[in-house]
Symmetry: C2
Subunit: 541 residues, 2 copies
């Protein structure tokens, strides 16, 4: 059955144009921001062809099957990025992500081979523009979409995917739990330029009418194969929820808050044995290896409140995830590890250190964490604090949180706010980790700010539309876009102007040598007085 | 001249009532949140009588002169909180803030005596409900208000003060730069329950028609006395901008971004000598000591971009602020130190360590800092990341940043968003510093969340109105407020329910002993199967 999908958002972001870097046989997209001073800045671009004004978008046909023309390495063993990396092959995917990151392909290969980075890229998702997730690369963000039993349609979900990637989502997860799961996912996959993740247990649960105790390995296995065939790039698997860990959650303030975790806990307790995810894990690895689906080993016992952070249940599961990581890698399957949740700031770093120690530095992929529980409606902010800090400590990908977290389903505006907020957290961490190129954008924007190039400032910002809108609320007139002042201080007095004048004066008078200035203070004073103080505060009518 | 001021926002925050703790002769306000389970939580309350439904508010008359009835200690020397603390006196202000913080008055006295905490409380601001600012106490936040030449009226500014303190601002700064500065400030002071700070140089500059080179010590001194007489509790003084530091800003990306800093830089360069703030600093101390006005030594050379963070200019000024701190304290004047600004995460802690070392641990009061420059329109968030981290490291007060930072003047909504965002940063730091009472609110809210007490969850949140509004967008009906599910997962499946059932089962079966469970796994399984798995997923029609 084909369901009509409404049109999606297309066209470049204000002040930007789509540009492609030609790297050997690859065309690597960037968002080019031309500046009014003749310079330009290229920034990482997750938005796919939708922001290319030359691209014809046909949702029913899907995006071009970019990767179908890429040559695969020969060789024995699993045909996964991990296996190829270990065998010394640099795949087109590795070259593609290296160009996006501005690093050498060999660095990518080495990190993937070591299991410190993953490139989620199902062979059946040829529309994908690959991305690399690992602590040595730019911090990535994921946006969750997906309908639920209560609301939303396929059309809305496809647009949410396009919308989320427009603003910078590096991957999206389709967490649909209602009807039409398969069809919604098909529309999303055929039109998604970014890796798509799922939690297969959600679909399996639908097939047993929501009763987790009726789940079986066979049903789950078939669901995984169905999704892998469609092209899902990574799958969350809560295989670390062991029977003996469940009672460790009994004294918690908020028990088990992970959906997948509670499904598996219910199953384990009902059957009083370890889950089929755990007991059939090697078979699962064989399936994922065939498609190069990446594991995202779920933290089913993650804390749902400050009180429960870093407790015995959480870390017991993490230890098991470490064991499963080794098994998955032995099958050539790429692995990420999911992390919390709700964690106060002083307990954040321990999460990363322990994950790296127990899981052989597999990329960490965390949900926030929220640094406090007391601000529902602002949990994009409570979690951005935790997300920035955990990314600084080494987390490779951050799952976004929207303002509706804990309260309801995010709408289009919430998705945008969530994505922008997480771009802030990720970029702040890139700066803190001193990623070689990260500060270019800050410097370009600050220079534009200092030089009153308002339009450049908007274009360089994460959200040009809102920046311009806020500016125009106080100073709507077009001349204000080139005015050498703003509404904060008014035309008569502006610290930025004074600074610019100080700079000009210093340059002319070689005032960068402190000792010389102190020695020559009197002379300089006389000289400066002669030039007139008006240089500092030119009168603006 | 009396200007009509429109009415302001009054009445309790949704789900709360004003309550007073009777502490000896003092009535200390708290916001009491009654819960549906019969418990209640008292939280710190900055909102003054405006949220007391029993209070009659008359803006023309001002708030009751609370502190006029408080007995002053006898003794020689300056009549300041610092001098009294050093002499061993516990003032009513110290007892008042101790009750608000839930600590012993002696701790307050000792911290004030050591210069590690301040209680900004001008003797001419008797309407004040005092607050303590210091690293051993709850992290405080400041909201800037103030009209500019471009927009806004007195009425708007008084309402902004009431509005900002309603949502949690611990102090406000009146940064007015336009007309009616004196009158605006009078209305604010007579009606403000929180400390009011100013930057006197702004008013002085108005009196010389905006030409900083025309400023004189005499003019500035008279302005300070005028403001101190009115009751201003703390004043930002940019006395650390020395002539020889100015050239250090010449190579910066964004030069001097502090208004006060650029005013003084312009003056210093024009006259080619040290500023009157520096050369007359001891006289300034004598004036402030007479009223117990607290110094907020301004960071006129704070960085305005990531590129300029922690540079020679910034830290040179900080060293001078340390010298001035010692001088001020020798006059019995309380001192805070202002800090940046724009700082990447990995350079934040150094700011606190250096401030403590150079300024004898005087309370640090920072503006953010913003952890990246690239998100105008979201700088409340970029700065909340930096603010939470710098507060965790020991900063005592955070100056808020609104979404309009760098773009325009904040309106009422922006002020609220800025305050709530900074309450999040401050509270996250309180948790990280393990303040003895901070986690109570998180735990109460998380328990309410786990038990589906939606109304309690709203009432315990920083912004009950918005939390309820977001919830109602997806599930508007009144029964949803007591429903044991929410829109995120729908009625059929909810991890919170499963967790509650796991907990009930564990409690009945003593499943908290892991070894016992592992040993008795088979028996337990049989027992559980007998009880029926329905306990985990009761069918909701």
């Amino acid at each position: 059955m084909v369901t009509a999908v409404d049109s999606v958002t297309t066209g470049p972001i204000e002040g930007s144009v789509k540009h492609y870097l030609e790297v050997d046989d690859l065309r690597v997209p960037v968002r080019r921001i031309p500046l009014s001073n003749g310079e330009h800045l290229d920034v990482y671009d997750t938005s796919g062809p939708y922001t290319d004004s030359a691209a014809a978008i046909d949702l029913a046909a899907g995006l071009p099957a970019l990767r179908d023309t890429w040559e695969r390495p020969a060789g024995d063993g699993p045909r996964t990025q991990l296996a190829w990396a270990r065998a010394g092959f640099v795949t087109p995917e590795m070259r593609f992500v290296a160009a996006r990151e501005g690093v050498e392909p060999e660095l990518v290969r080495a990190e993937v081979a070591a299991g410190r980075a993953v490139i989620p890229a199902n062979r059946n998702h040829p529309e994908l523009e690959p991305t690399v997730i690992g602590k040595k690369f730019l911090v990535k963000i994921n946006a969750n979409i997906g309908n639920s039993a209560v609301s939303s349609s396929i059309a809305e979900e496809v647009e949410k995917m396009v919308w989320a990637t427009r603003w910078g989502a590096d991957t999206i997860m389709d967490l649909s739990t209602g009807r039409n799961i398969h069809e919604t996912r098909e529309w999303i996959l055929r039109n998604s330029p970014v890796p798509v993740g799922t939690v297969p247990i959600y679909q399996a649960l639908e097939q047993v009418n929501g009763d987790p105790t009726q789940l079986t390995w066979e049903l789950y296995r078939d669901t995984v194969i169905e999704q892998a065939e469609q092209g899902v790039d990574y799958m969350t698997v809560h295989a670390g929820v062991l029977l003996r860990y469940i009672p460790l959650t009994a004294e918690r303030v908020t028990g088990i808050v992970s959906r997948g975790g509670s499904i598996m806990a219910a199953w384990c307790l009902a059957h009083h044995r370890e889950s089929f995810l755990y007991t059939h894990f090697e078979e699962l690895c064989e399936i994922l290896a065939r498609y190069d689906v990446t594991f995202s080993l779920g933290d089913g016992l993650r804390p749902g409140s400050i009180a429960d952070a870093n407790d015995a249940a959480q870390f017991a599961e993490l230890r098991t995830l470490g064991e499963l990581t080794a098994i998955a890698k032995s099958h050539g399957v790429q692995v990420m590890i999911e992390g919390p949740g709700h964690v106060p700031m002083h307990k954040i770093v321990e999460n990363v250190r322990l994950e790296e120690e127990l899981c052989a530095e597999a990329p960490f992929y965390t949900l926030g964490p929220l640094a406090t529980d007391i601000a529902p409606a602002y949990d994009h902010i409570t979690s951005a604090i935790g997300a920035a800090m955990i990314a600084q400590a080494g987390t490779a990908m951050l799952c976004y949180v929207t303002p509706k977290e804990h309260l309801g389903l995010p709408n289009r505006d919430d998705v945008k706010v969530g994505v922008i907020t997480y771009k802030i957290a990720a970029h702040s961490a890139d700066l803190a980790k001193q990623h070689p190129h990260a500060q270019r954008r800050d410097d370009a924007l600050s220079r534009a700010r200092f030089e009153f190039r308002w339009r450049d400032q908007f274009a360089l910002s994460l959200d040009p539309d809102t920046a311009r809108e806020y500016h125009d609320e106080t100073m709507p007139a077009e001349p204000a876009k080139t005015a050498h002042f703003c509404s904060m201080c008014g035309p008569k007095f502006c610290s930025m102007r004074i600074s610019a004048d100080v700079r000009a004066y210093a340059a002319k008078n070689d005032l960068t040598d402190v000792e010389a200035i102190e020695a020559g203070m009197v002379e300089k004073s006389a000289e400066f007085a002669g030039r007139g103080s008006q240089v500092y505060l030119p009168v603006v009518p």
